[in-house]
Every structure is written in C-alpha cells, then in structure tokens.
Symmetry: none
Subunit: 209 residues, 2 copies
DNA sequence: TTCAAAATCATCCTTTCGGGTGAGGTGCAC
DNA sequence: GTGCACCTCACCCGAAAGGATGATTTTGAA
C-alpha cells in the first residue's frame, strides 16, 4: 500500500478529469478513481476509500456534485473541494451547507488544486485529532458540586476506554478492590448509578449539556 | 452594530488592498481594516475584532503573513484565507501549519474571494458548535465488516446513554432477554467484550480513528 | 502536632452482565 | 415454498460490577 494520499475525482468531462488527474499525479497524489456521475462516485467512495475528493458540481444528468458532497459529509469522513464555474449565490448556499474544505472557481490550474488539497487534508487530520481530546479535570470539577480527586479522575479516563475493573487495577497498579472503592465515590460525585452512565455524564459535561 | 461580517485585509500593496476591499464591500462584507504589515495587523486584530481575515503572505519588510496567521491561530479564533502568489512547497508547508481556511493563488478575482470567505466563515461557525452529534447508522456501517441491523443500532443509542439492560428493555418495549441477545450480536460486530468497550469503539468510529 | 481528605485494601453480599444454547415468529428474496 | 436475516424470548451459569462497611497509611493543611 502506497503512502500517497488517495484522491477521488468527480467530473463529467473526461478531458478535464484527465487533466486534473495529471496534475494530481504530478504532485504526488494517487488518483483512485474518476467518476462521471453521482452513482459512480458513490460506488467508488465505498470501494476505493479515498482520503479526499475533488467534486465538480455540474455532472450533467442526475444528481449533482453537491449531492455527492452530502453523501460524503454524512457517510464518510473525508475532506473535499468543489471545482466549479458556478459562483452564483444559490449554488454557493447549497454547497457550503456540505461544509467543503474548499471551493475553486474555474479557471483553476494545478497549483490551485494542489494547495487546496494539501490544506484540506492537513486541516482534516488535525481537526479529527483534536476531537479526541480527553476530558480535563478542572473543566469537570467546575461543573460538579463535589470535586473529583486526581485518582478518581484517572479512574475515569480508564473507564472511558472501556476497561474492566481488573484491567484498570493492573494499569494503575492497584487492587481491584481499590478500583471499586474509587468507582463508588466517582458514581456518587457524578450522581450516576453505574459506569456506563458515568461515561455518558462526562460526555455531557464535555459538550456543555 | 451591523450584522455584516467584519473582515480584516492584510496586504502591503495599497492598490491591491483597495481592490479587494471593493470586492468585499460589493459582496456585503464590512472591511474593518487594511493592514500593510504584521505590526498593524496585530493591532487591528486586537482593536477591531474581525470575524475573518484575508492574508497576503508577502508583506515586504518584517514578519510575513504566515506570522500573522500564527498569531490568529493562537490568540484569536477566527478563520482566515491566504491570498498569495507563492505556490512553492516550502511556503505551503509553513502556511498549512497555521490551519488556514483557504489558500488562494494569484490571479484571483472577487468571486474567488467571496466564495472562500463565505465557506470559511460558515465552516468555522459550525465547527465550533456541532462537534458532538449522534452516531449515524450508515456512517457506522460503512466502517464495519458486518453491518448493524436497525434494532441493534437502536440498542446502541440506548447503551450510549448509560441505560441498563432492564431500562433499555422498558424503553424499547422488549424483554431483557431480547436486549441481551441483541447486545451479544452487537459486541461481536463491534469486536468488543462488553458495553463500555462498545461505547468507546463507537466514539472511535465517530472520530475517524 | 493534629485533623481531614485521599488513597489503599479487604470481606461479604446482591445485582447485573455476558456467553451459550435453543427456539418460535415474521417478512422478504430467490 | 425454501431459505435467510432479523427480532423476539427463555433458561442456565459463571464473571463482573456494584453496595456496604471497616481499616490502614499517606499527605497536606490548619
């Protein structure tokens, strides 16, 4: 498996598509598919698992590139850039609701595409990484009537990872009995009945519920 | 106070800056400042509090636009778009670390700027709000070797809320035994040992791990 | 120093969970 | 009609979780 980024091109004009593909390959990307319509795009997304996509909005007959974009936004977690000649307000309004990483208006060249893709992929990697942030003890405590101790907070982090009491004990070098004691205190402070509810409560606190 | 979006322009060529300002005003943006160097940009950021910024990379003497971008990334939470003629790898590498919303290469026109700004601002608003969403069945299934059934998905949603088997049964009007059967299937499909690990796996899938 | 909170561990007991197995009913595709 | 997937439920059993109580040690603040 190559370590190049795998790009899907959705463009109904074969000549333009080939042109774009040439740019991408020249810049060190892998082109994992060229789809001329939404149907093909959908299939290639499922089968080829690209890291990012370039979407023409006008695809002739049938669903347009924005529909493909909605599909990507809902089902796949990859960044994409629109390549289009539509600069009108209506199209832009529809397009931006799909949260594209970029929107390139014709005429564009290889450099335009390359820079937009690079940034789209880079931002996407950092954005998804930032989401996996672990809860912060202070942030939790400010929202609780009774503060968690450091040890209880550590237990909580292990809880979130789906570990059992035994595994938590091994990981923190304490007895299973101690783990249970800490968890009892944790449940009281979080006002929860069990571990799964505790996990849920924490995710609520993290997202300002 | 106007409800227009307030934009800061950082550009050392007065003619180009005026040109851009004209575009923006025409498209309904407010131009809250034109900075010809990093120093002025910094001051205007602090004083005028723009919603977004357009940054030329080359600012003549002194710190360039990427330095301004780093400042924005660290101190302000606003999206920004680079406007530049630098397409070289080195500049792009430096620029993308600042996580710009866009990167427009010269020559660009009013439409290029307008669409990039619209998308930058729109994405920024949605990114800082709707971080945590309910998992989507299709999104999960595309990432699993064996797809979840609808019922199993419903069970999963209840699991995430921290409900016990009994509570889930009552909520879905099925027997606890049925709940257990579904959960067994769920654990196999998610390749997890228990409910808490299943919750963790789902959050991984949602965050593209 | 004294006191209190935190951290550690244990024992006993009940409840819940999870695995295994079997099985009846429905609806849909071939 | 025959499969097949899905949903439903039951019983059994061992493992894990959770509740209650008590106790020791460490640590930091008063």
């Amino acid at each position: 498996m190559s370590d190049k980024y795998r790009i899907l091109i959705v463009e109904d004009e074969p000549l333009i598509a080939e042109d774009i593909a040439g740019y991408l390959i020249e810049y060190g990307f892998d082109v994992v598919g060229i789809a001329g319509n939404a149907e093909t795009a959908r299939r290639m997304l499922a089968e080829n698992r690209p890291h990012a996509a370039l979407l023409d909005i006008n695809l002739g007959e049938g669903p347009d590139g924005i529909v493909v974009a909605e599909d990507i936004r809902d089902k796949y977690r990859i960044p994409f850039v629109f390549l289009t000649s539509f600069a009108d307000k209506g199209t832009l309004e529809r397009a931006k609701k799909t949260m594209p990483a970029g929107y390139l208006l014709k005429p564009f060249n290889g450099n335009d595409i390359m820079t937009s893709l690079e940034i789209a992929i880079f931002n996407h990697m950092n954005a998804t990484g930032a989401l996996q942030k672990e809860p912060n003890l202070e942030a939790i405590n400010t929202q609780l009537p009774v503060e968690l101790s450091i040890r209880e907070y550590e237990l909580l982090l292990s809880l979130r990872k789906g570990l059992t009491n035994k595994e938590i004990g091994e990981r923190l070098f304490i007895s299973v009995n101690t783990v249970k004691t800490h968890l009892q205190h944790l449940f009281v402070k979080l006002n929860t009945k069990n571990r799964t509810e505790a996990i849920f409560r924490i995710s609520e606190l993290m997202n300002g519920a």
